[in-house]
Amino acid sequence: MPLDTSAYSLALLRVDGRRWNELRRIHAQIRTQAAADGSSYLEMGHTKVMCVVNGPSEPGPRRGGVGGTSAAGSGGGGGQSKDAEVAVSVVVAGFSSVDRKRRGKNDKRILELQSTISSALGASLHTHLFPHSTISISLHVLSLDGSLLAALINAATLACVDAGIPMTDYVAACTAGSTSTYAANDESADPLLDLNHQEEQELPGLTVATLGDSDRVAVLVCESRVQVGRLEGMLAVGVDGCKQVRGIIDRVVRDKGRRMLQEGTVEKGVGLEDMDLD
């Protein structure tokens, strides 16, 4: 096992020198693509993703190759096509990870990611305001170092904010893990926040996405074997991490908004009162 868990118990530091409750550096930008209705770029450590949002648009003459699963984007509500459809496509670049692997277009893992993101955002976006239309979110993974789903959800949220699509609140996501392997039943195992690729391979972990500042979990994905007793600790750390992430991406949006006001992109006086300017 390349990741020596005994080293952790000595210094309480993880392989990349973080403590158990520290996030990796999150850097984000919005409005990066001029051509899109909304766009964002997000780094969580070495995981780097870009997101482009188009729409909501009425389905005109059927454009070919609108990729991705067209999951019924609503959170299960409504009659047919009464809500906007959230179509998500995820492209993982060939150079994103160490071993260059070609992933087929119909990789089930990617399809699952797409449908998860679509359904998670669909629950927050006010899709009922745009009947018979499509919000297409396309995500590109440039570099992969763990917490992929979380990074994708955060980037998509940011891009949707940029596109000005009404939503209930941010959907913020992060991962959590546990220092014990599934077999070891030791009580001293610490939960960990925000796993990198190496930790993801070795340790049990889960991805959590919450809605805004609440404890309400939109996405909970666990793909590794773990004792049921560990779940509570991991979930608590994950939910807490989501709140931190929400704070960070909220700041990104506000900073951008302030700069846009200063640079005059937005006409002065429009919505100035509502803007938090300090």
Partner: protein, 293 residues
Amino acid sequence: MPREAEPSLNERQFVLQALQENLRLDSREADRYRPLEVTFGDEYGVAKVSLGKTRVLAKASAEVTVPYADRPLDGVFQIATELSPMASPSFEVNRPTETEVLLSRLLEKTVRRSGALDTESLCLVAGQKCWSVRVDVHVLSHDGNVIDASCFAVVAALRHFRKPDTSIEGGILTVYTPAEREPVPLGWLHSPFCVTWSYFGEEGEMALLDATRAEEQVRVGSCTISLNRHGEICQIAKLGGTPVEAVILLQCTAIALTKVKEFSAYLDKKLAEDIKRRDAGGRSAELTAENDR
């Protein structure tokens, strides 16, 4: 492509209204499964599971192949799912719907990635020969909760399955027919089962187990939890949908564990019964015949 038939407004409203009053259309309690029934075929490795009107058939089979180059010591194990028009006219052959992709991913994570089957025991000659075990899942009729039924069927089929016995002498691999040597069971490590919760209401505050199709059509979210009876989570999938309080999810997991223990005991009982049934006219009878001579 035919769309899945939508329930009418009246049905939608009524199902939700009834749930508000803690009533379900079939008068079940919220955490009660429909009657679960498993039957085994005459052949080894065929399991038919019925959960109310949902029926799923799983068939396990094995053949000798060459292992993957990057995993010379492991056998090959795959699960193939098929949702055909037999289950509902909205499914088409060879065009996987989202339901089917998610189902196959869930089974993959629950059974394959959790290491329920000991794939190393499938290796015959390192790097050259191994068993390839394949489970085909066919959904025969769809009345909700296909996931739990399919997972149960896969586990039941694999545990019921017997692969031909083999031996290696002087580098020569011999596969014995059932007549020569009794087939042997697969190397099995633990039995994971899926338990799917469906959530209803504005904030997902109502949780139901084993939703029927009518209920599935009006739910706002679902969460599938896979566990084994030792209390190990193999997989959790709440793939979007309306956000649900974290505390509710923890409660759901605890209840799921008790359900999984029931499933586990039921499957053990059924497998034991099946072995006894096969044995009645089989080896023990033969043995007594030999003693008489």
